[in-house]
């Protein structure tokens, strides 16, 4: 029961925020405005959805913004010549960087924040190389030919939203109905017991990092498609909000507890807060301050302190 209530706090917070802003500016509640807002949120959600799995393990993936920037560059640079293959390469590169993070964590026994910080650096270099250190524009024809699934619309709803919803459903199934999802939860809750039960914990971790890399890669492709260009700094400023989405939604940074739908709600909260700040007149420069504060607050609330004897 208590858990049920705690589950619903983020949802309640989202509604409060929406109605609060609506009171301030009634135009906010217009359906097309809400849909645009949701569509704008989806790239952030895609990035945060994969890292949800990693955070549920009790680990972290700091490479996601670098990975997203990299895939935007790969797609933009390769589309004119290779078409669909560019998409495949971009997504594979995303998954591959996740694989690299996972292998470093597993075989060198390095904490994930260091491993993914390093991988983030490497992929940023790849992005500079792929883009020749510039923004690479995606022509309208290429856009129409290969990226319509991300930027077009279907039944009057932007395809970003459809992409986000498909990811939400698939990842929820993965987390809640498969053995893999359960092992992610188990490892995050009590890794030593899972190891002692004869489970290959390294494989579970590896898969989670690959998933995180893949989703970040997908987010980068969609981001590039929306903006019509790829750039090595495209997803900068996205790491903090993405982690904030996961935590604000109610997934514990200490692992073991969480859900993809929670991250979805968290992403909407972050988006609404962002819009809200613009309405209230907080400058863009100060917005990261608010995200920082929200993140710290959310971690303070959701963290399982019985699990960490000392905080470093």
């Amino acid at each position: 029961m208590k858990e049920r209530i705690r589950d619903l706090v983020p949802v309640a917070a989202l509604f409060l925020l929406v109605f609060g802003i609506a009171g301030y500016s009634p135009g906010f509640m217009r359906p097309d405005n809400l849909l645009t807002l949701t569509a704008d949120t989806m790239t952030l959600f895609l990035m945060a959805s994969g890292v949800t799995f990693v955070i549920m393990l009790g680990s972290i993936d700091l490479s996601i913004q670098g990975v997203a920037s990299m895939t935007s560059c790969i797609v933009a640079a390769m589309l004119p010549e290779y078409g669909a293959l560019a998409l495949a390469v971009a997504l594979a590169a995303g998954a591959l960087s996740g694989l690299a993070s996972g292998l470093v964590v597993n075989y060198l026994r390095i904490p994930s924040f260091v491993a993914t910080l390093a991988v983030g650096g490497i992929v940023t270099s790849v992005a500079y190389w792929a883009s020749d250190t510039r923004s690479v524009y995606i022509s309208q024809e290429d856009q129409d030919a290969w990226l319509d699934w991300a930027t077009g619309n279907f039944l009057g709803i932007d395809n970003e939203i459809w992409t986000g919803l498909v990811a939400l459903v698939l990842l929820t199934v993965l987390l809640s109905f498969t053995r893999f999802g359960r092992m992610v939860r188990a490892v995050g809750s009590q890794e030593r017991a899972v190891i002692a039960s004869g489970i290959d914990v390294d494989r579970v971790k590896l898969a989670a990092f690959v998933l995180s890399g893949f989703m970040a890669g997908l987010a980068g492709v969609v981001m590039g498609a929306r903006l019509g260009s790829g750039s090595p700094t495209l997803a900068n400023e996205f790491l903090l909000p993405a982690i904030a989405c996961v935590i604000v939604g109610g997934t514990a940074i200490t692992g073991g507890v969480g859900a993809v739908w929670k991250t979805f709600v968290g992403a909407l909260i972050v988006a609404v807060v962002r819009i809200g700040m613009t309405f209230v007149g907080v400058t863009v420069f100060a917005q990261q301050i608010v995200f920082g504060l929200v993140l710290v607050l959310a971690v303070a609330i959701t963290m399982d302190r019985s699990k960490v004897a000392t905080v470093k």
């Binding site: 109905f177 498969t178 053995r179 893999f180 359960r182 939860r185 188990a186 995050g188 809750s189 009590q190 030593r192 017991a193 899972v194 190891i195 002692a196 039960s197 004869g198 489970i199 290959d200 073991g256 507890v257």
Partner: protein, 503 residues
């Protein structure tokens, strides 16, 4: 004469256990008091009370004749009670001097900075007291076990000059990591210390306690059961008091002990792990319960962890049903047919955040999922079956594991291995932290397992438990098997006979 340290009618209760029951004990000036008892007798709890880690639930504590409450180890230290810990609390990255004066840096401040030379000079004086000829500026990581222990003792002794009353130093199993020669040195220091301080010496090695102390207390089941001056004590008497009551045959379901052993299911040959155990060989039959007896550090815990795949052996082989087991990882051990019930239930036995059903099927990938998708119906049905069979008290199959009692959690861990179909169950202190009623339930379930042909390796919480449940016992001492004792129903061996092979 007032005692330096005294407990009157002290009691401490934990859920389901009276850890200390009306304990009275006094330590006089310049006296060495020995404290002995089996694991779980209450020695550790007593120490934690005397160092301010636990508060008493009843009774009184006097330090230097004044009734007092020790709020924490620091408070106890300031009042003159210092503990030298069994697991050493020396910080390896700090120097010897910094360790000795940890928390007292203020005394060496000079213009806001620590005057290291003054600190080293002061440390030199403390080190001289324990005849430790090392440079106080040495990093403790460079010291051996024995030297670190001496640094701890020096730290405890540094109390000397600071407090008004007398100093009491608690030595908890101080010899377990020391070589023979170092033990001699330690005893010499203890005898010398007597002129300046009082000492409580805790050990399971009776010979050492007899050697060094003036008076001896024996604890059992949370009570002080015997007290005598060392001059009149004998090894045999102390053994008897430690062991106490006669075996209760019914308690351990001896009537259900299997008489004729089944076919051999497991063979261990020349298993060795450097520094832990060596040349371990034995056979185990289906339905047999094999007890492992030995003190802490005898190698039995390490051996159990090896069979669980948690600490690979250096050499030797283990076969189950004629097939060689790969013990490099827990996965290999599980595949070979081992099921490990660890002593640390909450960290290694169960996943607190998962439900009862999820914990039960944790070790059985593939049994309750198709293509990775969990078959919830089949899983719940299996969980319900085992909840009934093992009489697990839980509201439902989907109840979070953490809301179950210790005994019921342990049953879920047992069910986990029954579901996998383990051939050999390794029970490492299966009744630790479980209340009395639930203990009997667990004994019943262990007998059930044996009846159904599962071989059991048991590391009991007490010697009595090992003797009561096992049909055969291996005694380990210093990493090697020191005795093999048959324990048929109705012909159980004497505890004293086992202890003699343990120490």
């Amino acid at each position: 004469m007032t005692a330096v340290l005294e407990l009157r009618g002290a009691s401490k209760v934990f859920p389901g256990v009276r850890a200390l029951d009306d304990v009275s004990l006094r330590v006089d000036r310049n006296e060495v008091v020995g404290l002995i008892g089996e694991n779980g007798a209450g020695k550790s709890t007593l120490l934690k009370v005397l160092t301010g880690i636990y508060r008493l639930d009843g009774g009184e504590l006097f330090v230097n004749g004044e009734e007092t409450v020790l709020r924490n180890p620091r408070d106890a230290f300031d009042k003159g009670v210092a503990m030298v810990f069994q697991e050493q609390s020396v910080i390896p990255t700090l120097s010897v001097a910094e360790n000795i004066f940890l928390g007292r840096e203020r005394e060496f401040l000079k213009a806001g900075f620590i005057d290291k030379r003054a600190m080293n000079r002061a440390a030199r004086i403390e080190l001289d007291k324990v005849h430790l000829a090392i440079d106080p500026a040495t990093k403790c990581s460079a010291l051996g076990f024995a030297a670190r222990q001496m640094v701890e003792i020096a730290k405890a002794l540094s109390l000397d000059g600071r407090i008004e009353g007398d100093t009491v130093i608690l030595l908890d199993e101080p010899t377990s990591v020391l070589e023979r020669r170092e033990v001699e040195l330690l005893f010499e220091i203890v005898r010398e210390l007597k002129s300046r301080a009082s000492i409580v010496f805790i050990s399971h090695r009776l010979d050492e306690v007899l050697d060094v102390s003036d008076r001896i207390y024996v604890m059992r089941d949370g009570k002080v059961v015997h007290e005598a001056p060392t001059a009149t004590a004998t090894m045999h008497d102390l053994h008897e008091h430690m062991v106490g009551r006669q075996l209760d045959h019914q308690y351990y379901r001896e009537g259900r002990q299997r008489t004729e052993p089944g076919p051999v299911v497991m063979r261990v040959r020349d298993l060795s792990l450097k520094g832990r155990y060596r040349d371990i060989s034995f056979d185990l039959a289906e339905g047999e319960i094999l007890g492992l007896a030995g003190v802490v550090g005898s190698g039995r815990e390490a051996l159990a962890r090896t069979l669980a795949g948690l600490s690979p052996p250096d050499k030797g082989t283990v076969e189950i049903s004629g097939r060689r087991a790969q013990l490099g990882k827990p996965r290999g051990a599980v595949r070979a047919g081992f099921g490990f019930i660890p002593s640390e239930r909450k960290t290694e036995g169960m996943v607190a955040g998962l439900t009862v059903a999820e914990n039960m099927t944790l070790a059985a990938p593939g049994q309750f999922d198709s293509y990775g998708f969990i078959r919830f119906k089949a899983e719940r049905a299996e969980a319900r079956r085992w909840i009934d069979r093992l009489r697990i008290r839980t509201p439902s199959t989907d109840t979070p594991m953490q809301s179950l009692s210790g005994g019921n959690q342990q049953k879920v861990v047992l069910a986990k291995w029954r579901i996998v179909g383990s051939r050999v169950a390794i029970l490492d202190h299966p009744t630790r932290g479980i209340d009395v009623g639930a203990k009997e339930d667990v004994y019943e379930l262990i007998r059930d397992m044996a009846q159904e042909g599962i071989a059991v390796i048991l590391l009991g919480d007490t010697l009595e438990e090992v003797i009561g449940l096992s049909s055969r016992i291996l005694v380990l001492r210093d990493g090697a098997i020191s005795a093999r004792v048959e324990a048929p129903a109705g012909g159980k061996p004497d505890q004293i006979a086992l202890i003699e092979n343990m120490v």
